[in-house]
């Protein structure tokens, strides 16, 4: 096993992407994700890759489109306002069935918002963001180790299902340092017979496109794509279950919120309150089955989020509102404290909620 090193989450994403075979990065600086771009700027020229600071986020995502169409692993990264700018390009990637990695190290919004951590782009990431019928694979790391591991996984899933994938992190995940064991160089090349690599007069030409003016054709393409989405929803949901065996209350939280929740769970358990955690690792596909399964045993759910309550809707949907779901959240760059979460737990057990 390779050595544990201390790295910022943002740097871990960049290094893991390189080790996953990504040699093309296009971005535009924005706090709190700038270290991804800075790391790429330093490393890419040394390994024959491309680092390009585009003139805007919109330009960057369209450069991603180009490289992906040529069949290569490619990524961009930004933070919330910058990700909003990229939405048109993301929809085009989805509509053209192109794999790519988009990293969103979220900050408070809406608008230009602030620079402190947030999870308020959950809706944007999981429910569309851009126009049209499409999904992104959305992965939510909760440690620097996962920032690295899920970056590799995102590239793999994106290639396997021919669609864009997103890492949905936040300012704390990007800025914090933790020990990380970096993934090995993959060296794997994925066959992409659809890519625009030149026919060399040996095959008919490939077309990468998202424009279909005949509605019957567009419908059939969308239906085809949704068959792939069905397979993803069946095969790829992933979550961590923590102390759920005997839990009466289930907290659902991802990323930094899940780590805060774990502190609260330790405190609650010390008081004899049986609380557990489901931590979605994939936000799309949402781990609905795990939540539905938990609903059979727990009395209630608490959704802990850094937003006004967005994932809470999926927690309700996943178990068809069989059990009540309460919200414990802060917004605008504030982070709920373990004490905030504990207060929600105690209100719930005390019958106040």
């Amino acid at each position: 096993m390779s050595e544990k090193v201390l790295m910022k989450g943002n740097e871990a994403i960049a290094e893991a992407a390189i080790r996953a075979g990504c040699r093309h990065y296009f971005g535009y600086p924005i706090t709190p994700q700038t270290e991804v771009a800075a790391y790429m700027a330093k490393r890419m020229p040394k390994i024959g890759g491309t680092f390009l600071q585009a003139e805007s986020e919109i330009a960057a995502i369209n450069m991603v489109y180009g490289v992906s169409a040529a069949g290569l692993r490619v990524m961009t990264s930004s933070s919330s306002p910058g990700i909003s700018l990229k939405q048109e390009g993301i929809s085009y990637l989805a509509g053209s069935d192109l794999p790519a990695l988009i990293v969103n190290v979220q900050r408070g919004g809406p608008g230009l918002g602030g620079i402190q951590p947030s999870q308020s782009d959950y809706f944007q990431a999981t429910k569309g963001g851009g126009h049209g019928d499409y999904h992104l694979i959305v992965l939510a790391p909760a440690s620097v180790q996962e920032m690295a591991d899920l970056t590799v996984k995102a590239f793999e899933l994106a290639d396997r299902y021919r669609m864009p994938a997103m890492i949905l992190a936040d300012g704390t995940m990007g800025q914090m340092m933790e020990p990380v064991v970096l993934p090995e160089e993959s060296g794997v090349t994925v066959e992409k017979p659809w890519a625009l690599t030149g026919t060399k007069n040996q095959r008919s030409h490939n077309i990468v496109n998202s424009l279909y003016l005949v509605p019957e054709k567009l419908e059939s393409i969308n239906l085809e794509r949704y068959k792939r989405y069905e397979a993803i929803m069946k095969n790829e949901p992933s979550c961590e279950s923590y102390l759920m065996e005997d839990a009466e209350i289930c907290i659902v939280a991802f990323g930094i919120a899940a780590r805060v929740a774990k502190n609260a769970i330790t405190a609650a358990r010390a008081k004899g309150i049986r609380v557990g955690l489901i931590r979605p690792i994939t936000l799309w596909p949402f781990p609905s089955e795990a939540v539905a399964e938990a609903a059979k045993r727990v009395k209630a759910f608490i959704s802990v989020e850094l937003s006004m309550g967005q994932m809470i809707e999926d927690v309700r949907l996943a178990q068809s509102c069989q059990r009540p779901v309460y919200l414990c959240s802060r917004t605008g760059g504030m982070i709920p404290s373990p004490e905030d979460v504990m207060e929600s737990i105690e209100k719930l057990t005390g019958g106040e909620l």
């Binding site: 201390l6 706090t31 402190q116 704390t172 914090m176 020990p179 805060v260 774990k262």
Partner: protein, 186 residues
């Protein structure tokens, strides 16, 4: 062991570096650790702080809001965080830059004129490490005999010449005793 450390001061005092050194030293000693900086405008001269957790169990939230160990290098930081420290906390104060004493009586204060010591010894940018030396002595959060290994990780390759100076600063803090000639701001 699950120790939450908060280091705070002005941007440019090496707050984040001091935290990074503790974190790496903890990692070398086989602990679970996390390091979380304040970021953004702070890096350009405002207030800076960093949360470090050194533990034997996995680290939950990396945000330190109730420190077991607090080190402050300016008055605004003491004003802001004194009330947040847990009862029984150890609080390290750069007494050159912080003129007041602690108001709380349920925490243990250590006053070290780190900035003055650093200046007098010709290493004005290393007050942070003098403070860390004292912190290591009084808390045992990491082992002092191994500090060179941690320093080697955090002092960049370009600046390895600064390694010895950092070691000197750490030792100065480690050996500092109130009431000695060093203490100019009793």
């Amino acid at each position: 062991m699950y120790t939450q450390i908060l280091i705070a001061g002005f941007g440019g005092q090496g707050i984040l570096f001091a935290g990074k050194f503790l974190a790496y030293q903890g990692l070398i000693e086989g602990r679970q650790i996390s390091w979380l900086p304040s970021y953004g405008p702070e890096m350009r001269g405002g207030t800076a702080n960093c949360s470090v957790i050194v533990a034997d169990t996995p680290v939950g939230s990396p945000i330190v809001s109730k420190p077991d160990i607090l080190a402050v290098m300016n008055l605004p930081s003491l004003d802001r965080y004194e009330s947040e420290a847990v009862p029984g906390a150890k609080v390290f104060v750069d007494s050159t830059l912080v003129e007041r004493r602690l108001e709380r009586e349920d925490v243990t204060p250590y006053y070290i004129p780190a900035t003055k010591l650093a200046k007098d010894s010709g290493m004005p940018s290393l007050a942070n490490m003098i403070l860390m030396g004292k912190l290591i002595r009084e808390t045992g959060i990491v082992s002092f005999k191994d500090i060179r290994r941690g320093l080697e990780k955090v002092v960049s390759v370009r600046h390895q010449d600064l390694l010895e100076l950092n070691l000197k600063a750490l030792s100065m803090g480690y050996d500092y005793k109130p009431g000695t000639a060093y203490q100019l701001n009793p």
